[in-house]
Amino acid sequence: MSRDLRLDRLAKTFPNGTAALGDLSADIAAGAFVSLLGPSGCGKSTVLRLIAGLEEPTRGRVEWPQTRGSLGVIFQEPTLMAWASAAKNVALPLELAGMAKTQARERACGALEKVDLAGFADALPRELSGGMRMRVSIARALVADPDVLLMDEPFAALDEFTRGKLNDDLLRLWAERGFTGVFVTHSVFEAVYLSQRILILSGRPGRLVADIQNPAPYPREPGYRTSAAFNATARDILDVLEEVSTC
């Protein structure tokens, strides 16, 4: 058994007959940052839900290292409890696991600090901006130190500026914590900026059509976005996507 997370010929057909995911096999190395890219409806969210165990595959399986790693998830929406403060929201995974309230709060505040929200522990979600809510969601996903972080287009609803800032925050946290990142996005440029590896899925039912490595070293600074290396990788991906969408 390797330390990797293995997706073994994963397929999912929903009870209503929709074949969402056709066939996906991939080894995701521990500590890697991988993006899933593909046309809308090709089963990207389904892959994440399968990995998270929120959905059972119709065929194939998700193989974990010896023990099933702990998981963090960031949804497209911040998905916060509207009635609870930022700190309460972040402390949720800890409290559900049985940690004492005061200790959980302490760690939650620490996690909020990491996403630059130190002063907002007691703010309610409605008192925060969209980007700040997303950061609370990131803090919640990371507070329990997960081995694997699943992200489903987490920044899609944000403006370019906030998105870039959160991309950098995310990479910094990834370097610090060393979790395995699986990131779903519609944006080729976001995928290139963040990932070591980009998996491209075809239209529904989703199949793996390309597995592109991005060897650019970390830390990646905003300057990387305009470099020749960045453009070359983006070009490769765009070429594949063009082929996928024409067939």
Binding site: R49, L54, F75, T79, A84, L92, L96, R126, R133
Partner: protein, 260 residues
């Protein structure tokens, strides 16, 4: 600022004007007091019959509050059961609906026979409870179903058990729905209590409805109005208190329905 003052002054002025007009028109058109008594005569009733009216109001209020409390408790409990078991919901919800769609005035005679006229208060309590029960059940059930599916997934992901999910997720997300239902239930408990008192039509219940019947038989129209006034005040007070509770519990996070 001026607008704010007007918003308070204007309704009061309108009300005072209407009362004044009522008083004046009864005199001007020489309307018989057993058709429409003037407001002054209605107030005078409280001097002569105040004690018996207030005593009856107290009785009706007591039954209303007891029925309301029972309805809130049983409605939420049943909704919680429905939320935890689909089978229970499928098996039991038809009866709840039957209870709701059957007019309580039609069930009243049966209930009164069952509990015996000597226990008319119990019949009133049961009927008021039936009237108030359904909105609580319906709103709590709707609320429990309206939980954000992503949050539900999140709780599943962190392996929350049913108790944790219920207390931390389902109760708070359904609270806005539940409180709206509870507000309706308060008014319906009062309506149910009064309807049941009418149906019992016996001095045994001794509630405000009985006072109205009694006064009607004796053509004491002013006293009927006085009893009506008390009923209306009770209903409004109940609604105001429940609205305040709702505001207390929700205004911080639920004020504008912006998505979180």
């Amino acid at each position: 600022m001026l607008m704010q003052v007007l918003r308070i002054i204007l309704p009061i002025a309108l009300f005072a004007g209407l009362i004044q007009f009522w008083e004046w028109s009864v005199v001007y058109w020489e309307i018989q007091p057993f058709i429409l008594p003037p407001p002054s005569a209605i107030l005078a009733v409280f001097e002569t019959d105040g004690a018996s009216l207030l005593g009856s109001a107290w009785t009706t209020l007591g039954t209303t509050l007891a029925a309301f409390a029972l309805a809130v408790f049983s409605g939420t409990a049943l909704a919680a059961l429905f939320a935890s078991s689909r089978i229970a919901e499928a098996a039991l919800s038809p009866y709840a609906v039957i209870l709701q769609v059957t007019p309580i005035i039609a069930i009243a005679p049966l209930i009164i026979v069952w509990v015996g006229l000597d226990n008319a208060w119990l019949a009133v309590l049961i009927l008021a409870w039936i009237a108030a029960f359904f909105p609580v059940l319906a709103s709590a059930t709707a609320g429990l179903k309206a939980v954000d599916p992503n949050l539900r997934d999140l709780f599943r992901l962190y392996r929350a058990d049913f108790r944790q999910t219920f207390i931390r997720l389902m109760v708070p997300s359904s609270l806005p729905y539940l409180l709206a239902g509870i507000k309706t239930a308060g008014g319906l408990a009062l309506v149910g209590a009064v309807v049941a008192e009418f149906a019992a039509a016996s001095g045994n219940t001794n509630g405000l409805a009985w006072r109205i019947l009694e006064a009607g038989n004796r053509l004491q129209i002013a006293k009927m109005f006085a009893a009506l006034l008390l009923l209306a005040l009770m209903g409004v007070a109940l609604y105001a208190i429940l609205s305040f509770v709702e505001w207390l519990l929700l205004h911080r996070w639920h004020g504008d329905r912006r998505r979180a």
